[in-house]
Symmetry: C2
Subunit: 205 residues, 2 copies
């Protein structure tokens, strides 16, 4: 497919999934370059010249350059679309959830999954580091659960980037040993997200 966009990505990545889902909802075509982050593919001199932070997802925009950080990428793609509200207060609340995801949820819910699923570590090997991550992960999920009280979606009563970004790692939390049993609001919301038209599973290219 001819496109102005090239996405450097690793399909099991929830951060990459945010970009792929956003592009899918907005019907934005892109060329996909898959990189295996477990084999150091994002730490080569060639990749570091594109993103000095050595991480996927990375978006190459023809005529502009390289953009990294999943939330910078999805907000760039979604600007002016129904996925990003125009109202300043609603926008600020989308960003509130995006920032919360990167600071509180992702490091504590996604990292255990990466250790267990991608690096094949056992709970015994990980020990206290895992216990600590899980405790903070459950704390973050508690905040998300509360934020969904009486709401269909996180912001502005409709599906936005906030739902895409928070769904990405939350729905695969159990792959890292994080149970979602105690979070009925989260489970009902995940079903609503998965029922959106154009939805795709995390590893879909």
């Amino acid at each position: 497919m001819k496109s102005q966009y090239t996405l450097y990505d690793y399909l099991p990545s929830g951060n990459g999934y945010k970009v792929r889902l956003t592009a899918k909802y907005l019907n934005i075509p892109y060329r996909l370059v898959e990189l295996d982050i477990t084999r150091g593919a994002t730490r080569t001199p060639e990749f570091l010249a594109k993103n000095p932070n050595g991480r996927i997802p990375l978006l190459e925009v023809q005529g502009r350059g390289f953009l990294w950080e999943s939330h910078a990428i999805i907000s760039f793609l979604a600007e002016g679309s129904k996925l990003m509200p125009a109202d300043p207060w609603a926008r600020a609340n989308v960003w509130r959830w995006l920032c919360f995801e990167q600071y509180n949820l992702e490091p504590n819910v996604a990292t255990p999954r990466f250790w267990v699923k991608s690096l094949k570590k056992t709970a015994a090997e990980l020990g206290e580091r895992l216990t600590e991550k899980l405790a903070k992960g459950y704390e973050a999920l508690g905040v998300l659960e509360l934020g969904l009280t009486g709401r269909e979606f996180l912001v502005a009563d409709r599906f936005t980037l906030a739902d895409i970004a928070l769904y990405a790692y939350t729905h695969v939390a159990p792959e890292g040993g994080v149970s979602l049993d105690a979070y009925p609001n989260i489970r009902a919301w995940m079903a609503r997200v998965a029922a959106q038209p154009r939805h795709a599973p995390i590893t879909a290219a």
Copy 2:
């Protein structure tokens, strides 16, 4: 000063400082409520009802409600101002730096400072946890140093929210034992930021 804004904050906080600096540059008045986070002031039932994530800074906007997450707050305050570029590519790059700050720099450069300065822990007490944070902190500073190569400011050749957000914890990194000696671009950029009109030190209310 009468204002539609109330800021709940802890003056040594770099995250709070981002909001105070943004308000200062934009000449936005606010009422300040100081909370001592080292004494649990953000974990009381009363505060958790305002921000379930139990953190400052928290902005109360008359007639709207409560907004948390420092970058959601500063982008809300700066919308339409010279601190947030209107060009979509430049905006995306401001967000790239803001996201990088929250994920890579803040957890590894600000946390050692909080442990050492606010909680009065010693390096011996902190042990390997500190060593690990510092290594990741230097990695993040390396990315920032590279990002400043040949540039006066981080985005769009002028002072933006990206400079405010990245400056907040970087300039006080030495308080947590992080040396900035190896980063000449960062040191020159910090001097340019501090020389901006309306600049104020971190603990200024």
